[in-house]
């Protein structure tokens, strides 16, 4: 379970996240949606203790992330597939992560296998494609076999096979009773993956509802239409020649 209570982040006068409260429950995939600049990544960074909230708090498993000891055993996160040192090999990258949380070294081979990277374990990450880096980031998130998983744009850069694989992975992880929070801009993909939706705009919560309920209340048949209708007033960056 992930909880946000009145979570707020201000940068000077700008409010990135504005008194956001929600709960992400286990056993289902929760999609985290919102236009660019809505505060999704900032919210995820605050959940993971990377940024300090200006107000309110975020809890994972009832605790502040910064107070968790072996954090990879509690939460697995993929925020940015580029957050790796290119000079390390994939295997070494996972090896230091495993060591930092005292995970058995056998876990490295397991997650490399699960993400289809076993053939490139000894290769430097510098030479990896974006899709391979995403797989490595997912391998890192799975390393500690955590009950909570957070993915920011996980299908970014993946090929159709990879996208289908991620979808299956998320569904399987949720079916195992884990808490899954995943952000994406791909509505068609989200429609296939998520059971529950959190939609934010300009740092505020716009919707917190199950997929069916969300579609019903918007009165549309597709997630994309429902999403665009809900967020049309909350979009900060829009090209002028959009005719809708």
């Amino acid at each position: 379970m992930i909880e946000a209570h009145e979570l707020t982040k201000r940068y000077g006068a700008a409010v990135a996240v504005d008194r956001l409260s929600f709960q992400v429950r286990p056993g289902r995939v929760t999609g985290f949606l919102g236009p660019n600049g809505a505060g999704k990544s900032t919210t995820m960074r605050m959940i993971l203790g990377l940024d300090t909230p200006t107000g309110g708090r975020a809890l994972v498993g009832g605790r502040l992330y910064r107070s968790v000891g072996f954090a990879l055993r509690e939460v697995g996160a993929l925020l940015d597939a580029g957050a790796v040192h290119g000079g390390l090999s994939a295997g070494r990258h996972l090896a230091w992560l495993a060591a930092s949380n005292r995970l058995p070294s056998g876990r490295v081979a397991e997650v490399l296998g699960r993400t289809g990277l076993d053939g490139v374990a000894g290769k430097r990450i510098r030479g990896f494609s974006l899709g391979m880096r995403q797989r490595l980031g997912i391998a890192a998130a799975l390393l500690g076999d955590p009950p909570i998983l957070i993915f920011d744009e996980p299908v970014n850069g993946l090929d159709p096979e990879g996208i289908a694989w991620i979808r299956g992975l998320m569904r399987a992880l949720a079916a195992e009773g884990r808490t899954i929070l995943v952000s994406s801009h791909l509505m068609s993909e989200m429609a296939l993956t998520a059971d529950h939706l959190l939609v934010i705009g300009k740092g505020r919560l716009l919707a917190d509802a199950g997929m069916e309920e969300f579609l019903r209340s918007a009165g549309t048949s597709t997630l994309e239409d429902a999403y665009l209708r809900l967020t049309q007033d909350a979009v900060e960056y829009r090209s002028t020649d959009v005719n809708r």
Partner: protein
């Protein structure tokens, strides 16, 4: 903590930059000391009385220390700045959310490596230098007064520079910026302090490289009166260490 120490050790020894900076330190540092001592040993007969008076059998072995210290400073900077440069710090902090634990573990791993390499460098360079000086019967032994202290202090000094680099790297979070700061501390602080001499000798006495001159020589004080006393030189090391690590720890506790 031991788990994080293990993780940081894997990182440090897996990166090519660790080996490159240390090879540079040893090649430049030991190489220049070798050339200096060889030259002195061969030209002693024709050297002026003034040059002979300025000769320090320990200090001349450490002619290359100024280059070695830049390499050690860079090693310290890179230990943390590359985490910010590549973005890996977010992965690191997600795995080890306790900032104090992370900063301390990194410092201990880097510190252990830098101290061992610093002392190996100091004793290796000293022994090579003395072997060269022996040709002119100018060499000293580790058992002579003050020599063991001077050589061990040269290694200690390199360790301090690496740790200051680490603190500065954590503070600046940017490789080029942090190396520029280290360059300033090592190469530019000295002429700046010289410029202020007409007012006070105090800046001179607080310059890190002046402290290294005192620590790495046997009779530096007799030759250069503007240098800090031996006690103040050790205090200088402590001062730089505390300020740099304090600032680095503070910044590490902030948003990543």
């Amino acid at each position: 903590m031991t788990a994080v120490l293990h993780a940081e050790w894997i990182k440090l020894r897996s990166l090519r930059s660790t080996y490159v900076t240390m090879l540079c330190a040893i090649a430049l540092g030991t190489g220049l000391g070798f050339l200096d001592t060889t030259s002195v040993a061969h030209h002693w007969a024709s050297m002026s009385a003034q040059d002979r008076a300025a000769f320090d059998p320990v200090g001349d072995s450490f002619t290359g220390l100024v280059f070695a210290q830049l390499a050690f400073g860079v090693l310290g900077v890179l230990a943390i700045s590359t985490e910010y440069g590549t973005g890996m710090i977010r992965t690191t902090l997600a795995a080890t959310p306790r900032r104090g634990t992370l900063f301390t573990a990194k410092a201990l791993v880097l510190g252990a490596v830098a101290l061992v390499l610093g002392e190996v460098f100091a004793f290796g360079t000293f022994l090579l230098g003395q072997a060269m000086l022996a040709a002119g019967h100018l060499d000293v032994s580790l058992t002579d007064p003050g020599v063991l202290r001077a050589v061990a202090s040269a290694g200690l000094y390199l360790w301090v520079v690496a740790m200051v680099g680490y603190g500065v790297g954590a503070l600046v979070r940017h490789t080029a910026g942090a190396i520029a700061v280290m360059f300033g501390i090592i190469f530019l602080a000295w002429p700046a302090a010289r410029a202020l001499e007409s007012w006070s000798y105090l800046p001179d006495k607080l310059v890190l490289t002046n402290a290294s001159d005192v620590l790495g020589q046997v009779h530096a004080l007799a030759v250069k009166p503007r240098l800090p006393s031996l006690g103040l030189a050790y205090l200088d090391l402590l001062l730089y260490l505390v300020v740099a690590l304090g600032l680095g720890a503070w910044r590490t506790s902030r948003d990543a």
